[in-house]
């Protein structure tokens, strides 16, 4: 671990800029202090290659955005490295490590335990449970979750109280405190996104992976969500997020990775990467009328997400 990546150092934009200044602007560039390294990860659905990443590193302590046109394989890539899907190239050189620990054969739950926690494009709130129960589930290492001890309240009562305190604190921060006894299913889409992010934070992650955190969130909430993401980074957390909206990307990300047709086609800081010919090519070549910076896309995010899902399913079915 390098000393430049201490939490205090990276709250300062200049420090982040300096840190990434030396990094080559090419796909698969080496980072000063990578928290996540991915090698030769390929996922095919039938004959269609959804993901084919040769090498990728994610820098510790900054916000990295993963962008790309629909069907570029961003979500599939997320699924692969978080253990929700298995690469077709398993056993053929596919390897990825998180904080130096290999995750090749790690189940999704263990990936989360290792400190890499994700959210989902289509929010997965536990609808028939209350907001506070959703939060409590996020806490790790609960004694009361062990079947043998669960019946003996004294063994877990004090821990439950601590976890509860922590959950209330996070809910307050995400402005969900007054909803704590409501069913999660009764929240609005944006509130559910917030809840999902807060719940992920209950696990005390080292790195948080957000799959389209702004999709479906109303513009008023977007600003506060962005604020939350930035403050996470300032507290020392590594953030990797998938996003369609270039405005958001430009606003908060320190580094941008562009994917197209399953491959990483470009890397670089947000302000320069968009002018990369490979990126322009990827977007225009993908037959999508994506205006690279239109706020209206905020609203369309969900639809775009659905389209992407359907497209992938199609590819799978057509094969």
């Amino acid at each position: 671990m390098s000393d430049v990546s201490t939490a205090q150092g990276l709250a300062d934009p200049a420090a982040r800029k300096a840190l990434m200044a030396e990094v080559e602007r090419v796909p698969g560039a080496a980072k000063p202090d990578p928290i996540l390294k991915v090698d030769k990860i390929v996922r095919r659905f039938g004959g269609v290659t959804a993901v084919d990443v040769e090498h990728l590193e994610v820098q510790r302590g900054i916000i990295t955005a993963l962008i790309g046109p629909n069907g570029a394989g961003k979500t599939t890539f997320f699924n692969l490295i978080t253990g929700f899907d298995k690469p077709s190239s398993a056993g053929q050189g596919a390897a990825w490590t998180f904080q130096g620990k290999s995750l090749n054969r790690t189940a999704a739950s263990s990936v989360a335990k290792a400190g890499m926690v994700r959210t989902f494009q289509l929010t997965k709130s536990l609808n028939r449970m209350t907001v506070i129960e959703n939060m409590l589930l996020g806490a790790q290492g609960q004694t009361g979750e062990r079947l043998a001890l669960s019946m003996f309240r004294p063994t877990w009562r004090s821990q439950e109280r601590e976890v509860n305190e922590k959950a209330l604190g996070l809910l307050e921060r995400f402005k969900l405190l007054e909803k704590k006894d409501d069913y999660a299913g009764s929240l609005s889409g944006g509130q559910r996104k917030l809840l999902e992010m807060a719940r992920a934070l209950m696990t005390d992650p080292t790195m948080i992976m957000l799959d389209e955190p702004m999709a479906g969130v109303n513009p008023a909430l977007t600003q506060s969500l962005l604020g939350h993401v930035q403050s996470l980074r300032d507290e020392g957390m590594t953030v990797l997020f998938v996003e369609h909206d270039m405005h958001v990307v430009r606003h908060i990300s320190d580094w941008v990775v562009v994917m197209a047709e399953g491959r990483v086609v470009a890397e670089g800081p947000a302000d320069t990467v968009m002018s990369d010919p490979a990126v322009v090519d990827a977007y225009l070549g993908a037959h999508h009328d994506t205006d690279l910076g239109d706020d209206a896309l905020l609203e369309d995010g969900v639809i775009a997400g659905l389209e992407e899902e359907e497209k992938q399913r199609n590819e799978e079915a057509g094969a």
């Binding site: 999704a108 739950s109 926690v117 989902f120 609808n127 589930l137 996020g138 004694t143 979750e145």
Partner: protein, 395 residues
């Protein structure tokens, strides 16, 4: 009026029968599977049969009662592990198909003529071969006894007294149900769970007394099908309900509901979903096995008596009482078996033979069960005790 009392008398008799208690325990297990964890186990009758065989065969081979019960539970544990291992990582339908198939396999094997030495083949194991050690534990004494000793007959036995008793009974049961629903609706943070619990207990006891005042039951104290077996059976039901209460109000219970809502989300939070589901399947299956043992205590271990229908009845009872509620399974089972007798007897007495012949009233009552199950799922999926708000959100 006498006919109505006659019907209700038999309804109460059925409702407190040991077999009803046995099914109630199995439904408690099913509630852990289906109600809390969302596992579609359609082979609960298989667990029951396994428990019953395990206990009965062990006793006939000379093992002590306690060991026999443990063997029955152990069999359920092994069975659940075998069924769960291949299916719990797959979509829910697979568990459904595998559990129902496995339950049938157990039944077929139990009926095998070549295993007559163990299972008694299709005739099964008569109760007298295994219920002796259980009856020997009784401290209820001999002779017969009426519950409750204070009943409408001690007050003169007039129809008016009985009618009054009936009205009081209905009122008390209604109040109890409403009260339980209200505490449930108050959500997780009930103001004083202890006080609520005491009130509910008090109301339940009062209701029971009112029922038995109006419809007193006279049975042998210890006989094959007497008060001893009922006392033990319903005590076991009570203990099981309390166990489930402790389990589901713990963080472990929270895990179960989380898995029911969304497995992927649980994985993303670092929870081992497979392990949680396996634990739930095993625990619920062991309740099923225990239920099977209670079910056969006063009768016979016979493979066909614990066939698929019992599982379907269990689902009906569970949905009737309210899935994912603590007392729903017991309430649902009691009402289910009571109502079945009610339908059968009412159709026998009040519907002319030309429409429903006497020998078809039983089939008719079962037909009603099927229709009731459909209507229940469609129009009142939360059952009697469930929370309607929970159902507004689809997973």
């Amino acid at each position: 009026m006498d006919q109505i009392f006659f019907i209700l008398q038999s309804v109460v008799g059925e409702a407190i029968a040991p077999a009803t208690a046995g099914v109630a325990i199995a439904v408690i297990g099913l509630n852990i599977h289906f109600g809390y964890t969302g596992l579609l186990n359609i082979g609960q009758a298989g667990f029951m049969l396994l428990g019953a065989y395990g206990m009965a065969i062990s006793i006939t081979k000379g093992l002590p009662m306690v060991i026999a019960v443990l063997i029955g539970l152990l069999l359920a544990l092994i069975f659940a592990t075998i069924l769960g291992a291949p299916t719990l990582k797959l979509r829910g339908d697979y568990l459904a198909i595998v559990t129902i198939s496995a339950a049938e396999i157990i039944r077929y094997v139990g009926r095998l003529a070549s295993l007559e030495g163990f299972t008694g083949g299709a005739q099964g194991i008569p109760g007298s071969q295994y219920s002796g050690p259980f009856r020997n534990l009784s401290f209820f004494g001999s002779g017969s006894w009426t519950l409750s000793p204070f009943n409408y007959e001690t007050l003169g036995g007039s129809t008016a007294v009985r009618l009054l008793g009936l009205l009081v009974t209905i009122a008390l049961i209604t109040v109890t149900v409403l009260f339980v629903r209200r505490t449930k609706l108050a959500g997780v943070a009930t103001r004083s769970p202890m006080a609520d619990g005491l009130v509910i207990t008090g109301l339940v006891v009062l209701s029971l007394l009112a029922v038995l005042f109006t419809f007193p039951q006279t049975l042998t104290r210890t006989g094959v099908d007497g008060w001893w077996v009922r006392g033990v059976a319903w005590t076991v039901v009570l203990i099981c309900s309390l166990l489930v209460l402790l389990l589901v109000r713990s963080p472990w219970g929270r895990l179960l509901r989380g898995v029911r809502e969304d497995e992927e989300a649980m994985r993303s939070l670092g929870k081992n979903v497979f392990a949680v589901k396996m634990q739930a399947l095993i625990i619920g299956g062991m309740f099923g096995a225990l239920g099977g043992m209670v079910y056969v205590l006063a009768s016979t271990v016979q493979a066909d008596a614990l066939a698929r229908q019992i599982t379907f009845f269990a689902y009906t009872a569970l949905l009737l009482g309210g899935a994912a509620t603590i007392f729903g399974p017991v309430l649902g089972t009691v009402i289910f078996f009571g109502a079945r007798i009610l339908v059968r007897e009412a159709s026998r007495i009040y519907v002319p033979d030309s429409i429903i012949a006497d020998n078809k009233t039983d089939v008719f009552s079962l037909m009603v069960v099927g229709v009731a199950l459909m209507l229940l799922v469609v129009y009142r999926p939360q059952g009697i005790l469930g929370d309607k708000r929970e159902l507004r959100f689809h997973v």
